[in-house]
């Protein structure tokens, strides 16, 4: 049995757990705890270790999705989670520009860990105050070649689209 790993990262409350939950065939293994600091106002629970989801490709191949904890005090987990990953998705909340800088910082951190391909998912595109992916690409200071994809993390088709775009990017890189 071959296993392949992808990492879903991004700032606190960007929608990583929801993203994995929308496509995983198993109930996402969540290691969430009640929040005890000032981020309590945003949501009641957060991922303190990791989320874990699974997609069985065929009888010999399984894709695992790992969600990283969004809070900086758990960033010691990031490097461990990034080892051996095929690629990663950076989730960004399109209606919270105050998290863009943090998203860019996380993206840079993961690029330092590994040279694997990645895409940026502009989550909550169904919200009226959402920044467009084009504006977010400029806001995040990303090169033209980097994909910033519209995403609604609680919709399976949208999550599939993001994962497929990441896989196409990996495929293109493999052909290079």
């Amino acid at each position: 049995m071959q296993t392949v790993k992808m990492v879903i990262t991004g700032p606190f409350s960007a929608g990583k757990t929801e993203f994995i939950g929308s496509i995983s065939e198993i109930a996402v293994v969540r290691t969430e705890r009640k929040i005890t600091d000032e981020t309590r106002a945003v949501k009641a629970q957060t991922t303190v270790a990791m989320d874990f989801g699974r997609i069985t490709i065929d009888k010999d191949l399984v894709l695992y999705l790992f969600g990283t904890p969004g809070q900086r005090r758990f960033d010691f987990m990031w490097e461990i989670l990034s080892e051996g990953m095929l690629g990663f998705v950076v989730m960004v909340d399109s209606v919270r520009p105050e998290t863009f800088r943090e998203a860019r910082s996380i993206l840079d951190t993961f690029r330092r860990y590994s040279e694997t391909p990645f895409v940026v998912a502009a989550n909550k595109q169904d919200h009226p105050d959402a920044w467009s992916p084009e504006d977010m690409k400029i806001a995040l200071g990303l090169d033209d070649g980097i994909k910033v994809l519209p995403c609604i993390a609680n919709q399976k088709e949208s999550v599939k689209y993001v994962l497929l775009e990441l896989l196409y990017t990996i495929l293109e890189r493999a052909q290079d």
């Binding site: 998290t99 040279e115 105050d129 399976k156």
Partner: protein, 278 residues
């Protein structure tokens, strides 16, 4: 698509860069936070207007923006001349005011364009010193028709604004804390006979004692944070006054990236097919 946020998270430099690159048309409203308003002396919001990524108009809320008012503010017209022209104006549009200014021989067309350009630039540059404040970009909203517009390329604005921002950041690095008093240098390094002080420098010096903090001196003299830092820095550089140096932490060098997992093309195609089928 909305473009809302706070300058604390997304600076004016980044915003203008986005508007320039995306060739946006519309208005950008920026509302400074209360603490900043008192420091900078602005009690109102700023509105910048853009057409296809170029700055065309700018104003602070509550501040007159008629052409004659603008020309007075940039020092190209006296208040008396402005009053004369305003009294003759019937419809009060910038176009008519501009014609009257030229007909009266007060200004040439080039004077007007350069004056408006200077006013636009000074308005937008002030925003570069705002560290925080809610902003909102409203697509396709243009300035009132009666106001004159002069299109300015944002690239140069961003470059100069960036230079000013860097100066502002350098001043903040040099003088990170405004809650400290100043003291005269015990052994001034400079030859005092060769130093000529500006009016503002003299004013600051007159307030130096063991109780007055930099912030208080700035408030006494109605200088914003940028201005008081600049004056204090110049005095410090001349060796006239002293301050404690901030502690600097050396960054730790990160380790290099490692190669990612490698899979054959056939396995990748199987994964793509598997995800598609879900």
């Amino acid at each position: 698509m909305a473009l809302k946020g706070n300058l604390r998270d997304f600076s004016i430099h980044q915003l203008l860069n986005l508007i320039n690159l995306a060739h946006k048309t519309g208005s950008l409203q920026v509302k400074p936070e209360p603490v900043l308003r008192s420091a900078n002396g602005h009690a109102s919001s700023a509105a910048l207007f853009f057409r296809e990524g170029r700055l065309i108009h700018a104003a602070f809320e509550g501040k007159p923006t008629r052409l004659t008012d603008v020309m007075v503010q940039v020092g190209r017209l006296t208040p008396e001349q402005a009053q004369t022209v305003n009294a003759r104006s019937r419809v009060d549009t910038d176009k008519e005011l501009g014609l009257l200014l030229i007909q009266n021989g007060y200004l040439t067309q080039n004077d007007i364009i350069q004056g408006v350009r200077g006013y636009l630039l000074e308005t937008v540059y002030q925003l570069f010193t705002w560290a925080a404040g809610d902003f909102h970009f409203e697509p396709n909203q243009l300035p009132p028709e009666e106001r004159i517009t002069v299109p300015l390329s944002l690239e140069n604005v961003i470059l100069e604004g960036n230079r000013r921002q860097q100066e502002w950041e350098r001043l903040r690095d040099e003088i990170p804390d405004l809650e400290v008093p100043l003291r005269f240098a015990e052994r001034p390094s400079a030859n005092l006979r060769d130093i000529s002080l500006t009016r503002e420098q003299w004013q600051v010096i007159s307030f130096i004692n063991s109780k007055n903090t930099i912030k208080q001196i700035g408030e006494y003299l109605s200088l914003d944070e940028f201005q008081i830092r600049r004056v204090v820095y110049s005095l410090k550089r001349n060796g006239l006054i002293e301050m404690a140096q901030p502690v600097r932490v050396e960054p730790v060098a990160p380790r290099g990236p490692v190669p990612g997992a490698k899979l054959s093309r056939s396995v990748l195609l199987r994964i793509i097919d598997g995800v598609r089928r879900r």
